[in-house]
Amino acid sequence: MKFIKFFFVGIFFGIVLVKSEAVSWYRIYEMFKFQSFHMYGIIGSAVFIGALSIGLIKYLKIKNIEGNDIYLPPKDRGFTSYIVGGTLFGFGWALAGACPGPMYILLGTGVFSMLIVIAAAVLGTFTYGLIRTKLPH
């Protein structure tokens, strides 16, 4: 039963991303063409409210549901892996029009060919694990 809350958060996330059209290939294309404010508005307002919430969590020392201090691990310092990995992901994002969340959500909307994208993404992740130590980070 401790998992049920995550199931409901997932449902909520899926509904919001479909209703906002952020799962749409066309919206991603339009965003990269700078032809609409829609996606920038979504990401921008999410980050604005998100930054306010995280700031409040830190300032008010809000505890999590288990009563423990909330600790958000900082990202490791670095440059190469973030810019190169980010660019490779950007290619895939603009081609498939979906990032890892929407991949699953779109499967739920009945687009079963998305299973091929998901399987290939698992393979890509596996390949990264295999050659990780040989890559610059």
Binding site: I11, F12, V47, F89, F91, I116, A121, L123
Partner: protein, 185 residues
């Protein structure tokens, strides 16, 4: 309640995504969807092949439950919460897409020119999906996060590495959209 069935404006959707992130933090976790791919590799026995997958994947099961919920959310949204409104794209986007060979842009969430079985079951069609998926899986692990983990959670937590990653997302996305898509389609 009728407005629920219409597409939701950005100023409602963005803050609701922040609510999702807040709930994940409040539940003692983080917001990051691409981590699931790593968990799936570990579940499938990836530890035999790479140390990168040697971790207690059972401790990450909550994240797979989020995925199951997301799939269900997608189903609920199109089945019960949609009135079939087309996506209100910029007319310029629609005409750009028509030139590329994409018809009726915005009538569906995804272009049939990429996702319909008729196109998927061709060498070109299946290659597009496999290459795109591979880049998503490889790139997100190399960059240690995707749109949710870096662009939403990382930027909200004022992480410089996340800003670098998001700049990377846009370098890749802009090159793909402006230079590669016209060559592919």
């Amino acid at each position: 309640m009728e407005f629920l069935l219409k597409p939701w404006p950005w100023y409602l959707s963005g803050p609701l995504i922040a609510v999702v992130m807040f709930l994940m933090i409040y539940f003692g976790k983080t917001f990051g969807m691409s981590s699931n791919l790593k968990t799936l590799c570990a579940m499938g026995g990836g530890a035999k092949y790479a140390d990168y997958f040697k971790f207690d994947w059972k401790a990450q099961r909550w994240n797979l439950v989020v995925v199951l919920g997301a799939i269900m959310g997608g189903f609920i949204a199109v089945t019960f919460l949609s009135d079939g409104s087309p996506i209100a794209l910029n007319p310029k986007t629609v005409s750009n897409l028509t030139e590329l060979g994409f018809q009726n842009a915005g009538d569906t969430l995804l272009p049939p020119e990429i996702y319909s079985w008729q196109h998927v079951l061709s060498f070109k069609g299946i290659s597009i999906l496999i290459i795109a998926g591979f880049l998503i899986g490889f790139g997100t692990r190399y960059a240690d996060g995707c749109t949710s983990g870096h662009a939403i959670m990382g930027l909200s937590n004022l992480q410089l590495p996340s800003l670098i990653a998001v700049i990377g997302f846009f370098i890749g996305g802009l090159i793909m959209t402006h230079f590669l898509l016209p060559l592919i389609f």
